[in-house]
């Protein structure tokens, strides 16, 4: 089964959690995401974390400026973003189980003249 496709037990697409190291919100976001996946019985074959303190340019490339932010990338679909420490469980669960729709994922959005 393709990990990029939505199916029972597997989160659709690639998840990236943008955070700022060990800041309280960032820790809570990591914990809340892990708990939600476990609670829902979901797996994410492609799950990354980006610490913007360490890799600040990643936030610019992905257009993520508010943290923590959980981004889901599905080829052909718009990037879905959920801001916050993921403490709102219903919102997080909707996000993780959503099939997604809307404009195509724009990809990294930095635009420098040079």
């Amino acid at each position: 089964m393709n990990a990029m496709e939505s199916c029972a037990g597997i989160v659709r697409g690639r998840l990236i959690l943008f955070h700022t190291g060990n800041a309280p919100r960032s820790r809570r976001a990591r914990d809340n995401l892990a708990q939600a996946l476990e609670r829902l019985g979901l797996k994410s074959d492609v799950r990354d974390e980006v610490d913007l303190i360490v890799q600040p340019e990643q936030g610019v490339q992905y257009g993520v400026f508010a943290t923590p932010a959980l981004v889901r990338l599905v080829e052909g679909d718009p990037a879905a973003v959920l801001y916050g420490d993921l403490s709102d469980a219903p919102s997080l669960e909707r996000f993780l189980t959503d099939a997604g729709s809307g404009e195509p994922y724009p990809g990294p959005r930095q635009s420098a003249p040079d």
Partner: protein, 573 residues
């Protein structure tokens, strides 16, 4: 601590009017909120500040939370400074728009933004950061307290690293009403610039105001904001950069000799003269006469007409003997026409300043300035005139402003009153009705620094040009037109009569004198004759006396020799 150490350090924006209004620019460290409704120029202002900063060698990061990067590029490209900005490698343009379907699940902050911006600024050694459309980011935050905390964090971060942060944000909602996302952070930040735009008479009026600038003196007035191909300008706040030229003592002719006499020898070079009058009182003709005289001397004259096409002015002036075409062709006279209604007063103001820069005139004529004042708000009209005259004075430009007087317009009258206060000279043109005739009259209401005549004189237009008639008083009136001509004829006849009488008297006296001289000559001749006759007679008498004496002596001697016979004395028998 020394005062100098406490002074707020500023970074020039490169927009002269803005730097003037803010007393030198924006803080070198910390956030500045640029707030305003849609379409009032927030993004352009930020881009222009960056463009000027890059020209000075600074680096910058621009993050757009509202428009795409491509749209921002298009925005910039439409201005003269755009291509250089877009070609520069000293700035980074970032598309920071949140995804359309972004959602929120708990609290978050802008630490990721700070980390990203820090990296971007370091990469280009930037000192300017623009977060354009910050309201789009703030609306994701749950409440006002959170928004305020995050903005404070951004401000303090910029203060720590010495970055000037421009936060632009809308104060209105797309569907109408006020957006509280930006309003809620206004009390946090020490520097706030407010832009606004509203339709007035179907025309977009943009305004600028420094709402807050802690630690710095600043202009508190609301100022007109003009957006042209050169970008944003605050035309009335920018004061002349050059040192003003010294007050000239040189008199320059108006081209009307008798008017020069009335003014005590002409206008002072660099002075401002207001020519006011009702329609048809020859304001344009008098101004054109001055223009022709100046251009004829080889001076550069910029004639800006706001109610007539330049070619028509040139043509019409030929009928009164004022030939402008050769002066224009020779490059001494620039006659340009503008339609007052086609732009805002402040836009015309900017255009006039651009033409002054381009032409560098010795004379500036605005005909009529009332057309500009009429379309401006009274306060703006005052600022515009004051600023324009300050620029002209600082450059030693002799300025002529004509103004149409309209009855029943209190507002215009008040504005003109203000202009007349600013002007050094005020020439009033009017109609005088006398003996069933309407004639043009000229009087000098004021002329600073000059002993001038206060008499009303008739302004004469003929194929020989403009002239002033002599003053003929009749009781409390000054005669004009046919009455003046009749009076002139009477006086001329009287003068001729007196002259004839004098001539006759002179001739009579000369004749008498001649006769007297002739009589004197005759008398002298008679005197001479009598004197000569007297002398001759005296000589003859003397000769006679000598001869008689000699004879007597002879007789006596003869008698002395003859013998006496009787002892008797001779001669007696």
């Amino acid at each position: 601590m020394q005062m100098a150490e406490r002074a707020l350090e500023k970074r020039a924006t490169g927009i002269p009017g803005l730097d003037a209004a803010t007393g030198g620019g924006l803080p070198v460290a910390g956030a500045v909120l640029v707030s305003g409704g849609s379409g009032c120029g927030k993004t352009v202002l930020a881009l222009q500040i960056l463009a000027r900063a890059l020209e000075r060698g600074d680096g910058a990061v621009f993050v757009s939370f509202e428009e795409s990067a491509e749209q921002v590029r298009r925005d910039a490209a439409s201005f003269q400074w755009g291509p250089a900005l877009l070609a520069s490698g000293r700035w980074t343009l970032i598309d920071g728009r949140p995804p359309v379907n972004a959602d929120v699940a708990g609290t978050f902050d802008l630490e990721g933004l700070i980390a990203g911006m820090g990296a971007s600024l370091e990469r280009i050694d930037g000192s300017w950061l623009v977060l354009d459309g910050i309201d789009h980011l703030l609306e994701l935050l749950p409440d006002e307290v959170t928004r305020a905390n995050q903005i404070r964090r951004l401000h303090e971060w910029c203060e720590e690293r010495g970055t000037t942060l421009l936060l632009t944000g809308k104060t209105d909602r797309p569907g109408g009403g006020e957006s509280m996302h930006v309003a809620g952070i206004e009390y946090i930040l020490p520097t706030i610039l407010c832009l606004s735009a509203e339709l007035a008479a179907h025309r977009l009026n943009r305004r600028f105001r420094v709402a807050k600038y802690r630690g710095s003196g600043h202009v508190t007035d609301e100022l007109p904001l003009v957006m042209t191909a050169e970008g944003i300008q605050l035309p009335y706040s920018e004061m002349p950069a050059e040192m003003p030229v010294a007050a000239s003592r040189e008199r320059v002719s108006t081209g009307v000799a008798r008017l020069d006499e009335v003014l005590g020898g002409g206008l002072y070079r660099g002075a401002t003269t207001l020519i006011s009058g009702a329609p048809g009182t020859a304001k344009t003709t008098l101004a054109a006469s001055m223009a022709a005289a100046a251009a004829g001397r080889g001076e550069r004259v910029l004639y800006l007409s706001f109610d007539e096409l330049g070619d028509r002015i040139v043509r019409n002036m030929e009928s009164v003997g004022i030939s402008l075409a050769p002066l224009r062709d020779a490059g001494h006279l620039f006659v340009e026409s503008h339609e007052a209604w086609s732009a805002l007063a402040e836009e015309h103001h900017v255009q006039i300043l651009q033409r002054i820069d381009a032409v560098a005139p010795d004379w500036l004529i605005i005909d009529p300035v009332s057309a500009l004042l009429k379309i401006a708000e009274p306060a703006d009209a005052h600022s515009s005139t004051e600023h324009l005259l300050a620029i002209a004075r600082s450059r030693g430009v002799t300025t002529i402003l004509t103004s149409l007087l309209e009855t029943g317009s209190d507002r215009l009258e008040a504005t003109l009153s203000n202009v007349s206060t600013l002007a050094d000279n005020w020439i009033s043109l009017s109609y005088r009705v006398l003996c069933g005739e309407r004639n043009r009259a000229l009087s000098v209401v004021k002329s600073r620094g000059s002993a001038h005549s206060n008499q009303v004189r008739e302004l004469l237009l003929s194929s020989d040009g403009v002239d002033l008639a002599d003053v003929y008083e009749y009781g409390s009136e000054v005669l004009m037109g046919t009455a003046r001509v009749q009076k002139e004829n009477e006086e001329a006849a009287a003068r001729r009569r007196v002259q004839t009488e004098r001539e006759q008297r002179r001739r009579d006296l000369e004749r008498d004198l001649e006769q007297a001289r002739m009589r004197m000559k005759q008398a002298e001749s008679e005197t001479q004759r009598l004197a000569e006759e007297l002398e001759l007679e005296q000589r003859a008498a003397a000769e006679f006396d000598r001869e008689a004496h000699t004879q007597r002596e002879g007789v006596r001697r003869q008698r002395g020799r003859a013998p006496r016979d009787d002892g008797d004395q001779g001669g007696r028998k």
